[in-house]
Amino acid sequence: MRELSTLINAFVDAGGDKSILENKNIAHLVASGHKLLSMKSVEGLEIDARETADGISAKVTVREGIQIENPVHLCFGMLHKEGTQKITRHVKLEMNSSAHFIAHCIFPKAEKVRHVMDAEVEIGENAEMRYAETHYHGLYGGIEVVPKSVVKIGRNGRYFSEFTLTDGRVGTLDVDYAVDAGENAVTEMTAKVFGHKNDDIAITEKVTLAGENARGLIKTRVALEDDAIAEVTGITEGNAAGTRGHVDCMEIVRDRAVAKAIPIVNVTHPLAKVTHEAAIGSVDKRQLETLMAHGLTPEEAVDVIVRGVLR
């Protein structure tokens, strides 16, 4: 129980609200390393999780027609300086259901930690899933994070995800998300990362607009300083009539940081349309001057711009 309270304290330090874990109406799953510390299902949403040799395997099912009122909290992390945590997750939203997941991934002392997440997500017909994942990796940069996710959205389904890693160090990050959108499905994937020192960031997000009139947006915001590097690949395929996709990548670089953006647009149907925009550069001069004309110092102005982009 001591480990649970320590992780919860770290969770609170990272901005979380520990009362949610005591609320019987809020589903949650808390794991530190390969230890399952706390788990709660609610009516219509079942969490089935077990410990494995190096992590946690979890299955989450939202039953047909059920709308989960409160966000489901998933709290993963590791309090030790070294170790591996591998999370395998299968999430299924049955037809006409909806749920909002908030995942907290906390590694406050990481010096030599590897965190692997393999997720499979199935979103049924007319179902909607919102998924927000926020990471905190501490100040040492000694972590390798490899989140992989494969999402399949059924007809009229909706999937919205947001990955945020803007406080503390990143370490090494290798995000690989792929979404397959069926007929009339909608997906929006947003990633926001702030790299410092020698952080190494790779983000690959792919949306396949497979069904007619499916729509997808990939939005990435990366800020880099010191010697951080980032490579962002946004791939959208329009493979059916009426599909609409957009890839929007913005990277702000300072100091010796290096950023690369690779938007890939692939259209195989004449009635599909996919667009992209990518902007990489230092802080916009006109934005900077506008804020300085309001009396902000150059440092304050850069902070407002970068924080805004990552908001």
């Binding site: 506008t290 804020l291 300085m292 004309a293 009396g295 902000l296 110092t297 150059p298 407002v304 805004g308």
Partner: protein, 237 residues
């Protein structure tokens, strides 16, 4: 009392003079309209006074409250009380209107500045200062943010122009607010009816002031379009 004095300002870019020996002064609390057609150097003059990057007089002196400001950076000039509403204000992703108005404002509640520019705080405070705003909305918010700063000198660079134009009454209302706050305004405009609300006016042509005096006289001169058609000739008031 003179607030801003431009003393014999010349500004040359790649051998081409943009401003040539320009002298002008603005008193504390004075609204000074600057008229001129496209390319006459109005915005250049605004950037020089504000201290934008790359805009330093080739010769001449900018003096604010008796102090030379040629070498001061933008934020240092802003801290003295100079600020500016750009002709085409930039957008800021992830910055709310509420936060934007509060930048360096002395007041905790800046919502009423939105009302002064004809925007409802209920509808706009939580919106972002990003590309979802129309050009007119963005200009109004820029004016509100400048009002909230309580500057000694506000440079309004064609705040009345644009696709989604502010109405004449709106801009007059905003300028009156500056007057109530005892702020001086350098009002850059193409519209003579706007210039008429100023205390004084000047017309810029080919990098120099060719006519200066009462707004009505300068507006009449401007309307005569002598300077618009001065092909190869130097305007002479």
């Amino acid at each position: 009392m003179t607030l801003l004095e431009l003393k014999d300002i010349t500004y040359v870019v790649k051998g081409k003079p943009i401003l040539s020996g320009l002298s002008c002064s603005i008193a504390a609390g004075e609204v000074h309209a600057l008229l001129g057609t496209n390319g006459t150097g109005k915005s250049t003059l605004a950037y020089l006074v504000m201290g934008c990057e790359g805009y330093r007089p080739t010769s001449g002196n900018l003096v604010f409250e008796g102090r030379g400001i040629n070498d001061l950076k933008i934020h240092e000039r802003a801290q003295l009380g100079i600020t500016m509403a750009w002709q085409e204000p930039v957008r800021f992703e992830g910055v709310s209107v509420r936060d934007y108005l509060a930048l360096k404002s002395r007041e905790a509640d800046t919502a009423h500045y939105l009302e002064m520019v004809g925007l409802s705080p209920d509808l706009y405070l939580t919106r972002m200062v990003d590309k979802c705003l129309s050009g007119g909305e963005r200009k109004r918010i820029e004016l509100a943010s400048v009002l909230a700063l309580h500057p000694k000198l506000a440079i309004l660079d064609e705040s009345d122009s644009g696709i989604d134009m502010l109405s004449t009454q709106d801009i007059i209302h905003v300028i009156n607010r500056f007057k109530q706050n005892s702020a001086a305004v350098l009002l850059i405009t193409h519209r003579e009816e706007i210039a008429l609300i100023a205390d004084r006016a000047s017309q810029l042509c080919r990098g120099g002031i060719v006519c200066s005096g009462s707004p009505r006289d300068v507006a009449e001169y401007y309307k005569s379009r002598k300077c618009l058609v001065c092909v190869g000739e130097v305007c002479d008031a």
